[in-house]
Amino acid sequence: MTSVELLHWARGPGLQISVAIFVLGMVFRVAQNYFIGRDKNLAEPRGTQFGPGMQTIVRRSFFHPGMNYRGYFTLIAGYAFHLGFLITLFFFSQHIDLFRGILGFGWPALPASVIELSAVVGIAGLVAVMVHRIFDPVRRFLSDFQDYFTWLVTLLPLATGYMLIHRIGLPFTEMLALHILSFELLLVVAPFTKLSHMVTIFTSRWYNGAIAGYKGVQS
């Protein structure tokens, strides 16, 4: 298989297969979570569930002063990675081309310089948490293969994208193919690992908010 054929496969059948696995896996997990149900709460409700559940989805994405009890490192590195990754993924103009091709609509892109910064911040955040994981004895003890594997799978699209734009390493065709394939690997792996939190975090946050809402307290 030539590099051109590899790229074409990655943009065509590879993308179809990986998106299908990702969507199927994620919908499966959410549907299973929903239909498995919860035990009926016999207590008298003191509030509603839907609204507080939705509020919690949003609210838990923001920083709260009480969250710093384990130190700022994880907090800052975590925010840096997630923001860098998401801005790069959703606001780079060529990524928007991809979404437009799948969803049928797009949105305005951010300037290349901003994307450059977000990608670097994202990579730096990932590297920082891995260094912390390796050198902190407790984290190292608690880590298993999946932690390292999911970290690598997350880093690869960012790293290959950066190398592609800056012409580092392989020629454009090969590097673009690798970049797309690395993202497809992320899509395939996500539903079956803790990376599934990219979707299930919304359901779990909603449940937390809904449970608190039922009790009439803020989550």
């Binding site: 074409h8 297969i17 998106v19 299908a20 994620m26 549907a31 991809l98 673009l176």
Partner: protein, 362 residues
């Protein structure tokens, strides 16, 4: 022109001055990425070179490559170089036809074994015994095998001969293949492009005349001197790509300002060719300079590599349908397994036998 004349003698007869000849040699050396010190070597070699016989075979092709070669540089010294090879067999250009024409090809094979060059334009059909393209009752396959068997080297002119090109595009009804699938025991130089740049064709011929060898080739058999960089690498719009400034349509502000055409489907980043440096029409411009994305015509299977007007970052297939089907399948599977678990819990609850104080006493 008598065949025993050297190239230098022939050019002088044509009225080409020494200065004009050296300018050509300098241009040729430059094109082939040689240092200036090589110019006298090129000049001396070309001066003494004798015209090799050239058999130009036309198979499944559109004659665009020949049009490119014969029209674009006339009347330049490159054109004369082409005259200075002995183009003994070429259907479109030769005066004779029919059995006479075929007789010439047979005579060349007999009289100059191991010395003549074969230029091939077009792909070769293999399906159904190769009957989809025949000349004088012979299939293209038979002609190529017979002619290439005694050739010094084979040069595939254009993408069809080099990689199969448009005839080989899906669903490839004639079973078209490139020259390299047929000719295995001779050096084959691929000069792809739809059509290839005329200067590149003459440059490859000049290299052969100068050194008597084939130039350094890349993995696809293309001369590195001309196919060593991508269009993107040498594109004058490259700074706009680096700045993230893209034309979104053919008539928006970005297009008028000459921004990068990547998002309009430009295949420059994945295409190796000399268009951005050598340019077309006597150095006038190249497609991107005229506001059109590169089609990637010098790459294998360019016709099947997705839409010309879809960005390389866009999907090359319909992903939405697959995603829609996956949503349905995921929802059904998730609901099924979720409901099954729910039922299991209910059954377990129903089957639960409460333990009473009396049970504990026993």
């Amino acid at each position: 022109m008598p065949k025993d004349l050297t190239l230098g003698e022939h050019l002088r007869r044509q009225g080409i001055s020494r200065r004009g000849f050296l300018k050509f040699c300098a241009a040729t050396a430059s094109m082939m990425a040689m240092p200036p010190g090589m110019i006298p070597v090129v000049a001396a070699a070309l001066e003494k070179a004798r015209r090799p016989s050239v058999v130009y075979l036309s198979f499944q092709e559109c004659t665009g490559c020949l049009e490119s070669l014969t029209r674009s540089h006339s009347p330049s010294v490159e054109g004369l170089i082409f005259d200075a090879i002995s183009l003994d067999y070429q259907h479109t250009l030769q005066a004779c036809a029919g059995h006479f024409a075929e007789h010439i090809r047979e005579e060349i094979i007999k009289q100059h074994p191991g010395e003549y060059l074969v230029l091939v334009d077009g792909s070769i059909p293999l399906k159904d015994g190769g009957q989809y393209s025949t000349i004088a009752g012979m299939t293209n396959l038979a002609i190529l095998e017979e002619t290439a068997a005694h050739a010094a080297a084979v040069i595939s002119i254009g993408t069809c001969a080099s990689f199969g090109g448009i005839p080989k595009a899906h669903p490839n009804p004639t079973g078209a293949v490139p020259v390299t699938d047929i000719v295995k025991n001779k050096p084959v130089i691929n000069v792809p492009g739809c059509p290839p740049i005329p200067t590149v064709i003459t440059g490859v011929l000049a290299h052969y005349l100068t050194f008597g060898t084939i130039p350094e080739l890349d993995d696809f058999g293309r001369p590195l001197a001309f196919y060593g960089d991508t269009i993107h690498d040498r594109c004058y719009r490259r700074p706009f790509y680096d700045q993230g400034k893209f034309a979104k349509t053919f008539d928006d502000e970005g297009a008028r300002k000459g921004w990068c055409l990547f998002e309009l489907g430009c295949k420059g980043p994945t295409t190796y060719n000399a268009c951005a440096t050598t340019k077309w029409n006597q150095g006038t411009s190249f497609p991107i300079e005229s506001g059109h994305p590169c089609l990637g015509c010098s790459e294998p299977d360019f016709w099947d590599a997705g839409s010309f007007y879809e960005a390389l970052s866009a999907p090359a297939a319909d992903v939405s349908k697959w995603a829609g089907a996956a949503i349905a399948a995921g929802a059904v599977a998730g609901a099924g397994i979720g409901l099954k678990s729910m039922r299991k819990r209910k059954e377990a609850a129903q089957a639960h036998d409460p333990v009473t104080v009396d049970d504990l006493k026993t």
